[in-house]
Symmetry: C2
Subunit: 430 residues, 2 copies
Amino acid sequence: MSRSLRIAVAGLGTVGGGTVELLRANRELLAARAGRPLELVAVAVRDTARNRGLDLSGVRVESDALGLATAPDVDVVCELIGGSDGVALELARRALASGKHLVTANKAMLAHHGVELARLAESRGAALGFEAAVAGGIPIVAALREGLAANRIRRVYGILNGTCNYILTQMRATGRDFAEVLREAQALGYAEADPALDVDGIDAAHKLALLASLAFGGVPRFDAVHVEGIRHVAPIDIAFAEELGYRIKLLAVARLTPVGLEQRVHPTMVPANAPIAAVEGVFNGIVAEGDAVGTAVFEGRGAGRGPTSSAVVADLLDIARGKRLPAFGVPAEQLVEHPLAPMAAHQGRYYIRLLVVDRPGVLAEIASVLRDQGISIESLIQRARDPGRGVPIVLTSHETTEAAMSAALGAIRNLPSVLEPPRMIRIEEL
Amino acid sequence: MSRSLRIAVAGLGTVGGGTVELLRANRELLAARAGRPLELVAVAVRDTARNRGLDLSGVRVESDALGLATAPDVDVVCELIGGSDGVALELARRALASGKHLVTANKAMLAHHGVELARLAESRGAALGFEAAVAGGIPIVAALREGLAANRIRRVYGILNGTCNYILTQMRATGRDFAEVLREAQALGYAEADPALDVDGIDAAHKLALLASLAFGGVPRFDAVHVEGIRHVAPIDIAFAEELGYRIKLLAVARLTPVGLEQRVHPTMVPANAPIAAVEGVFNGIVAEGDAVGTAVFEGRGAGRGPTSSAVVADLLDIARGKRLPAFGVPAEQLVEHPLAPMAAHQGRYYIRLLVVDRPGVLAEIASVLRDQGISIESLIQRARDPGRGVPIVLTSHETTEAAMSAALGAIRNLPSVLEPPRMIRIEEL
């Protein structure tokens, strides 16, 4: 059996600790599959004295993560510290610059600095593995880069944030509102104390930028993702969605349109019978549509100790087995700068919910605003509940543009008979 | 850009023709992803004169497939002829023996001769790619060999035959019986004129033996798969399944039990809310359960021109990119001969349907037979329909062994009040 692959892990949080455990638990299995031992030689943690319940016998414990980048007895550095910049980025740069392979679960760092790191890795003949950065337990990076690589990808979309999916699933199951379910999710450890990265869609947008790069061979453009979170999703919209045959998911969608790359993360109505609609709770799901393969669906746990460690160690196995592929599927210098489709050019169907004064003629006013924007109505639900205080009207549109819909919503909002800002949720055809 | 990868395709049926088309349609994309052109240099077909509507300009057309194995201008042979032995096997052996890479969609050949071919490939430093042999559009071979390779796999199961899944889906949707739906499937091209390989479960068993090898690092043992097809699934069982909260699928299941490798393909009741239950029509679905990743679900088209070609060309891309992994994840000589669990040792729950004389005491007779085998009843449905002619009784059991259930069914069959052979369908806990 060949020389062992010597591994250093920086950061012993959930993922780092899980990686250390998995390397130990499946040591023999991994050696058989890799054809050589996967040997943990060093870890770096801020507080070296803290007991994490990990068996670190025979492993060097250091307080300086950056030291791993140049340690002569290390072949691969696992950057599991997190954060788009700071120590994580510095470690990644130094490790690759000194010819070490890098494995990371850091979606934020890659969404911002992925091309730079990929270029650096390629220039040194090193691998840059980031399977753990997107939907942990789902091997989607490999699937787009290899398994589905014969295809021209038309669209890739998915549920990329387990916290949001848990919250939306619970809201639907219980009828409770966002704030209440968020508090429960925090108590259960499914949501962070500061939930903004998750519930505002940023985390999903980081992952989407990486998926889009892999799918379309472009430079990751996190800055060009249209992002809306789930804070404004109301129980009444979830109920209406159900009535209309949809479910509301925080969907991340990327596709190449005639006017350029469209990337968006927002609450989305998906057909209730679509496979992605059945992805519930903390699970993630991803669908890739290719010209040859048709529709390929992937589902699994997107976060957490086991699934993310599984992805980190899969990357380590690839490295141990000698697999060397460009991080984003094609060499970094060949990644294309796709033109960016403005969100205003998005075409799709829309759900709109209004609260209006209950008097004759209101619907005619709204309909004429939509007509003026060339928007045709597909369905309408008007249901009197409390005539004194306004009634909800729910509309779905036929396909139109975001520009037309924005203009219409602006005009509708200014109608005297419309009592609160309209709520809009995009509908995705799947 | 490096030298092109020179490809020969043997067999221009659905998959071969699709592969030729895909190599041409996505030529530039594939070259960018591979870092070198994928060049089709030769094809072999029995009837060279037949017009297949394929653009073969610049491609050598031969009638002798075996000639490709030693052609000096060929780097990879795609064996897309089919059949477990005969020309396909001879071509595979000769191509590998002369140091060429081999890509094949031939599950039957691999299930029978996979280890021999893997050993040959390894001895010559050649790749043996068979992503297309299992669930075409789903990159499950790569997922088990690479993406999930950090895991000890507990169980892998799936819907591996689109024809059977289409038939069962239609039976449920329409209430029609097997024979009628099969005829319709044949008319639509979803089932072969001779449907035995599909509906008797053989095709799924070939694929299961390959999946089990990848998952558990063992020699593929097609001969050790317990196989039952779907010919005996009756509309009444589909209806009862629904009532009990299940769907009936032709499920292929492999797991390592304390007594050895268990591999089975049979009609199975799966919980209606399990992801695999939602895999409908011609789609395939596969679930892998790993110690770190938990549950990973894959769904896509399992057969047909596009999806299978997608998998063939993915293997070609891997080869062009220099990826060289042992075909079954570990070197052929290290594949283990797992002990084989006898089907009699299978543990699980069971559904039984009986047609009995409608008189007091019958149920007591049946219950005592089950009691004598240590089988306890979980639920019972007795519904009089036509008292003169017997009534159906449906039972589900708590967990028991196949041996106990077989003995019980044998005894029940001999009871005078039981009017036809009992129907049994296994229930899988998911």
